[in-house]
């Protein structure tokens, strides 16, 4: 298991937290919570080691559109980059419902 952290600049306050997904094979769990300051913090624990660059690419792309001041925790059980992106978007959708 590998732990990875990233920070992205953010400015928009969000009102609600969101939890989506399951730590099942090929899937992941996303916990998204409002935070303070002007940064979005992402904390990842993944069962598959050695994919830091791929995680960075997925999150870089996600944060080109998303600017919420949040703390995101990801517990991953080998999801593909596509699944990761979909789960992140789902978490955003639930938090803005």
């Amino acid at each position: 298991m590998e732990q990875i952290e990233f920070n992205y600049p953010a400015k928009r306050k969000i009102a609600q937290r969101a939890h989506v997904g399951v730590v099942g094979s090929g899937d992941l769990e996303v916990l998204l919570e409002p935070a303070k300051g002007e940064v979005a913090h992402v904390f990842i624990r993944t069962s598959v080691d050695g994919f830091r660059d791929t995680w960075k690419a997925v999150l870089d792309r996600f944060f080109t559109k998303y600017d919420g001041v949040v703390r995101i925790q990801i517990n991953d059980a080998g999801a593909t980059p596509g699944s990761v992106h979909l789960r992140l978007e789902q978490a955003v959708e639930v938090s803005e419902r």
Partner: protein
Amino acid sequence: MSNQAYSPNLIKRRSFIELNARERASVFFDAGTSRELLGPFDRVESPWLPMQGVTPQEDDGCVVIKGKIAGQAAVVVALEGAFQGGSIGEVSGQKMTAALDLACADNEKGILTSAVILLETGGVRLQEANLGLAAIAELMASILALRKHAPVICLTAGTVGCFGGMSLAAGLASYVVMTREARLGMNGPEVIEQENGVEEFDSSDRALIWAIHGGEQRYATGLADALVDDDTPQVAEVIRRFVSKGVPPEHRSSQVALYRNRIAKLDTSRQWDPKEFRALWTTNASNEENR
């Protein structure tokens, strides 16, 4: 041919099996009465999994929701089959036991509180070995304490089913509800094959496995109390009915003489066929009831 004739009820169904544990646990409650206890944001996860390089889940694969079912206080505990096979670890086991103990304490205070346990589990989580075993022992004690006051209903819907120590816990329930897709048994097919060889049990023979462990057989032989379709409204309706029904006159696991007698009558010198066995236990059941 019209669609109607082709696929009459299947299309109208809302699958229960496709729901995750949290969604499953939410479907039984009267509107606006439920709240989750120790949810993922409380971050009570297994301390043992990360040490072994396994990603934990924030609710440890156990969802506890308290609320009202059919106007009556109830707690629903759901295991997430997709996380580590729904296995019981220190945290998930303690969450289940504590939920049942709180329900028991409420009953003792005069607030009738039932429990519904949604089992998708292979039993003890091997990474937490003894702690998982201890948790199941405690859970069984808690079921026995609670079922004196209010019904404890176990539902296994599939596709994981219910195996290992948790099948014993299900055996203590006031009522067991299954779907055709679900399986209930002590040792899983792979375990039996591994220990006793493929001649004993071929774990790749799905028809054989379901003929022995499947919901239909368990219901027909009186080891489950209801057989439901994989349809959320129907599952919820049956659970509400059992909550309203209250404690049965005699729990299945208290009928020691009946089951001893049944087992004694089985001739184990030859191989039984699941159909034959069903006929015998079904006949037995009706004869014994008529007595």
